[in-house]
Symmetry: C2
Subunit: 424 residues, 2 copies
Amino acid sequence: MSVRAGIVVTGTEVLSGIIPDRNGPWLSERLRGLGVELAHIIVVADRPADLQAALWFLEDEGMQLIVTSGGLGPTADDLTTEVVAAFAGRDLVLDEALEKRIWSILERLRARWRNLDEDALRAGNRKQALVPEGATVLEPIGTAPGLVMSLEERTPTVVVLPGPPRELQPMWEVALQTDELKEVLKDAGTFEQRILRLFGIPESEIARSLRELEAEGVPLEVLEITTCLRRGEIEIATVFEPPFAEAYERFAKGIKARHADTLFSTDGSTIDELVARALEGRTVAVAESCTGGLMTARLTDRAGSSAYVLGGVVVYSNAAKVAHAGVPAKLIEAHGAVSPKVAAALADGARERFGAQIGVGITGIAGPGGGTEAKPVGSVCLSVAAADGRREDRTVQLPGGRADVRERTTTVVLHLLRRLLAPT
Amino acid sequence: MSVRAGIVVTGTEVLSGIIPDRNGPWLSERLRGLGVELAHIIVVADRPADLQAALWFLEDEGMQLIVTSGGLGPTADDLTTEVVAAFAGRDLVLDEALEKRIWSILERLRARWRNLDEDALRAGNRKQALVPEGATVLEPIGTAPGLVMSLEERTPTVVVLPGPPRELQPMWEVALQTDELKEVLKDAGTFEQRILRLFGIPESEIARSLRELEAEGVPLEVLEITTCLRRGEIEIATVFEPPFAEAYERFAKGIKARHADTLFSTDGSTIDELVARALEGRTVAVAESCTGGLMTARLTDRAGSSAYVLGGVVVYSNAAKVAHAGVPAKLIEAHGAVSPKVAAALADGARERFGAQIGVGITGIAGPGGGTEAKPVGSVCLSVAAADGRREDRTVQLPGGRADVRERTTTVVLHLLRRLLAPT
């Protein structure tokens, strides 16, 4: 791994937690694919001194590549180009042809809004057309151009990208075609990433397996292995250089042998992808209570899901469970709304009402209110049922707050669906 | 603002984009409330040298407070305590009493899993009970203790917190009670934050208003104003020291005067909160197509929403629209599934079927497939209807990909609901 990189994300709104950083993670994945080792993502506010300090820190740490996002807008608090020019020791020069190209974009946008102030637009236009001497301009996707600059005798090459992901992502692809970036990336190794996913096992068991495999002589030191708990699943991400593919295979084989019952994905597929694939050519419908629509939303998150998701019904009240999911009122009276029998009736009701092959039923207590000693917050009854009578039912006790319980529930349901749909 | 802080988020899984950083933004908001100026959030992998470099950078930049998150687990890749001890020039010492307290937590957790390896647990237990000399221990919320350390003659005080937000958040409150942190925070100013939210206006118009207000003599230089586009809304966040409250009032008044039609929140309330309040004592039901359950999920996201959300139905196919939302088949034939008339019929159908006072209907093309020249991807028809005949209908053309279109749609609907429910 001979090329190291740092990312600087600018924006008071990101630093202050008002909006999440979507660019750091995205660029991180892209860099990994290019064989670049990312060392730091630094988030700074729209304060020139802090941005300047971050750039110098990354240069001092020996980064060959620095990528910035944000701060290229038309307003006065957008300072990245100016700060990067100062960092590079270059003057800012007005690029008149670029100014005209930006103006033609602005003219189109103006049509969408009434009463825009022309002077304001012109001033912003001019600002966005200021370019550090010797920089390569990346054409605007929105209205902001990006930049690529090599700093000659100094180490880092700097890529300056706009903040909106919709602009940053396509512009990154353009940046990759510049001579400056090609020059940096020719020194990058290539490396492979593999992901194993497990469900229903604590992280410490994976740690134990790692120790055992090491003791058996599997050369884990050539693999960069990261385990993390994510949405109730364990993800083992491994990065390695191509010559060490065999070491990875031995490692993966060892994990498979030890955790066959909980390992559900070895090719990077998520549970959502696996369930979507398993649902191909079948149909599913949902009747959900505590998840309030999230289950159906998660199933329909994927493009093309209309082929297999027939629909869903959110039945919060007991009356709605009876009227819209066909749950017998007596069942609720006898067992309570949060009970395995009601979950099963919801699954069957969803299936029958929508004419689907598979039904999903969810009833539980997401909290913060509504818990009892017998059924505390986090108690959820789940059921997935197929038309041929096969079914998977579970009652689980999930940790965390309302949002956690709702989200975890959808994950457990996907795992039940995978089990139900597994070729037998 | 006399106290500056930096946050270091550790974890290869965060740096590599596998899981999003939830701690940086959370700590950022807390620090702002305490009058601390956050300068940097740095994300690093589980590599000791990079974490060390980040700590030294923050000390060199003059931070009085450094908060780290993550890397306190029982496994070998959890290195934060070790690196912080080296940074502070302290030895690690086994705290035997702490080791016993952690063990008693582990014993409880063991009950949930079968066949756990005792040696592995003991090794992890011992590692987590190693504490830098002179550090104050923060009792574990999960199994990992946190730390607070002042570095004597050196400037920064370091707070070391675990990675899981469920552990970090309550432990931060405990850290605030330590003498070390009280000592740092006594120098912090206090400052105020206010948020204005607008919907249906471009960001450049806010920039124009800022310039006009400045020209009129409103002292904007004492206000730290950040505008950002978020989920289709504009958020103007302003931070100021208490003596400048009057300047803020003049600023806010100027914005209100200019943007009365699009300004919907002046007290920090989100559109979700405003709609939830407006729905108090009423009932609502949803029939949604392209949002696939997200609309009902968003309405039920809030604790207590069962009081006013009666339910929802996700009707993807035309057959489901007819069977489960009462849309006349002829209406779909005549106007197409994505049409204002079908949206209105969905709203009415949801209202009638669930016996709600207010119905929401959504039909549109979320993409990536399904678009036509007349109805491209992002075309969405929305309707909210009250039992008394009042209604708000819209057809919008939303930008972005599938996830953007789905999410933006729910935002537009909330604004229609707010309008429908506004006292007249």
